[in-house]
């Protein structure tokens, strides 16, 4: 099957090194301490952060740091075919774990001992790259909640089809069965905090694809930075500064 046609255009009209359109909004869920909606093309994800607050389950309380919990859910209508079980299936559990570990690494948990931070991520529309969109949305929601972090975490995926490295795979390209590399980085500190891959890749091409995904992450970081700056200006304006 042809995923990149001879002129170098992909199925949705993008070039191989082109990312999908990004759009983010902060503060959409009024009752949450922090919330954000993040869109990468047709993939749309909403994240809400509740915390830091008192630990609900005393047995899980940590005396020297905050407890970070995460739940990822996809409703029935978010994918092309209607799903049977929205919560508790294995893929959701795995992605919840991945997001939790990624965010836990960047939150300064030692500043909030004996407390709990809940991150809830809800996929509204899935078109490939949901993992990355969730991490980006969670970062924005945590920033909106004012939770201290080492750095923003941004994430992007990349693949390799028809001998071409492709940035930001859509569902159509992802389901081709080729390699799918998801990278999460701390942009200012220039460190990788998440790296996942499936299928197989020769090592030299692997380096290229990871490099491409990292560039994608940096582009997302720039966009998130802009969104946060704009939001802060709005807050200042409303305070009359």
């Amino acid at each position: 099957m042809e995923y990149v046609n001879p002129e170098g255009i992909r199925e949705d009209g993008r070039r191989p090194l082109e990312m999908r359109h990004l759009h983010a909004e902060i503060g959409t869920v009024a009752r949450a301490d922090g919330s954000a909606v993040f869109e990468m093309g047709n993939t749309k994800v909403i994240a809400a952060v509740y915390g830091p607050r008192e630990v609900q389950n005393r047995s899980q309380q940590l005396n020297d740091q905050a407890l970070v919990r995460c739940e990822y859910t996809m409703p029935n209508f978010s994918t092309g075919d209607r799903m049977r079980k929205p919560k508790g299936d294995r893929r959701s559990t795995e992605i919840s774990l991945v997001i939790r570990q990624t965010m836990e690494a960047c939150i300064l948990t030692h500043l909030m001992p004996r407390s709990q931070i809940d991150i809830f991520v809800q996929v509204l529309s899935a078109d490939g790259g949901t993992r990355s969109a969730c991490i980006n949305a969670a970062t924005l929601a945590l920033a909106d909640a004012g939770i201290p972090m080492r750095d923003l975490v941004t994430s992007c995926s990349a693949g390799y089809l028809n001998s071409t490295p492709l940035l930001d795979l859509s569902y159509f390209e992802d389901s081709a069965g080729g390699p799918d590399v998801t990278v999460g980085i701390l942009p200012k500190l220039d460190k990788v905090t998440l790296l996942q891959m499936d299928a197989r890749l020769p090592i030299d091409i692997f380096e290229n694809v990871v490099q491409l995904a990292t560039e994608g992450c940096k582009a997302v970081a720039n966009y998130i930075h802009e969104v946060l700056l704009e939001n802060t200006k709005q807050l200042e304006y409303r305070r009359g500064l």
Binding site: T28, V29, A30, R31, A32, S35, N42, K44, I46, A47, A48, Y50, Q56, E71, T73, P75, N76, F77, S78, T79, G80, R82, P86, K87, G88, D118, F120, V121, Q122, L124, S125, A126, D127
Partner: protein, 287 residues
């Protein structure tokens, strides 16, 4: 949700008694309603409705299926609501099951009609493709994204908007094709038909606090309620469904009074919703 102090409770109840609620509204005034359609690209129809801080999303998906043998000329419609954990930590894991079931059943009662299909919000025969052999199954899903009271009204409005936004693909079945196995249905034509939603009712929930009823309660006001009655009313001012919640008993004359108040309020709500939905659809087409 943060608990309320005795002073705050007194303030809420007193305000309602004086027709001046905590956010400045009168007893029978709705919060500003925002409707956006086409929010879920993969769905055949979708809408997002915001009433104050309450935000819900409804989506309609259509699948090819065989119709029920007892109703060969109609498609099947099913409706489920779930509460996202983003609305609050109490909805995490299985915490949302009770509320989701309660909302699903109330909406099914108001919108899907009886077992014979009578009294449904819209005519399911528009979903039929070939009588007795092929039809569209409509799956209506509701998702509560942010909860600040009055979920039932918001979901009813979102489902009405999502149904109006739904485009049913025109399916061409080749003549003479054998329909006992899976036929080759031609969905390539880009034509679509719409569902007639003029008969879809709106749901008005009246919450009784003290001796007065309010419309569109926030979750703080709902915590002070003694009981609530949700009435679903259509354009012809006919009642399509009725649900009473809350432990306190109600005198029958009060219930009749609440129904007539709801009927009066429903007209404004219906007009507001219709104009918001039309505006949202027009916006979506411009894009």
């Amino acid at each position: 949700m943060v608990g309320l102090s005795a002073g705050e409770k007194h303030f809420i109840q007193g305000g309602i008694a004086q027709d001046l609620r905590a956010d400045g509204r009168k007893r029978l005034t709705y919060r500003p309603i925002y409707v956006e359609t086409g929010v879920i690209p993969q769905a055949d129809g979708s809408a997002k409705v915001k009433m104050g801080a309450t935000e819900v999303i409804a989506s309609v998906k259509l699948d090819l299926a065989r119709p029920n043998p007892s109703q060969p000329g109609k498609g099947k419609v099913s409706l489920f609501v779930s509460c996202s954990a983003t609305a609050g930590p109490m909805f995490e894991g299985r915490g949302s099951e009770e509320l989701s079931t309660e909302l699903s059943v109330a909406l099914q009662r108001c919108l899907l009609g009886g077992k014979s299909g009578a009294g449904a919000a819209f005519d399911p025969s528009c979903l039929s493709i070939v009588d007795g052999k092929l039809c569209w199954d409509a799956y209506i899903d509701g998702l509560v994204v942010s909860a600040d009271g009055n979920l039932l009204d918001a979901l009813g409005a979102a489902i009405k908007a999502a149904l109006t936004n739904t485009r049913v693909p025109v399916a061409n079945v080749p003549a003479g094709a054998s329909l006992d196995e899976d036929p080759d249905v031609d969905l390539s034509s880009q034509e679509t038909t719409r569902i007639d939603t003029s008969g879809v009712p709106v749901i008005v929930t009246l919450t009784k606090v003290g001796r007065h009823y309010i419309v569109d309660a926030t979750s703080e006001e709902e915590s002070q309620m003694s009981s609530a009655v949700s009435v679903s009313i259509n354009k012809e001012r006919r009642i399509c469904g009725l649900t009473k919640r809350g432990g306190a008993g109600l005198d029958p004359s009060i219930i009749l009074d609440m129904i007539s108040v709801a009927s009066h309020v429903s007209e404004q709500l219906m007009n507001k919703l219709d104009s918001e939905i039309a505006a949202a659809e027009a916006d979506e087409q411009d894009i």
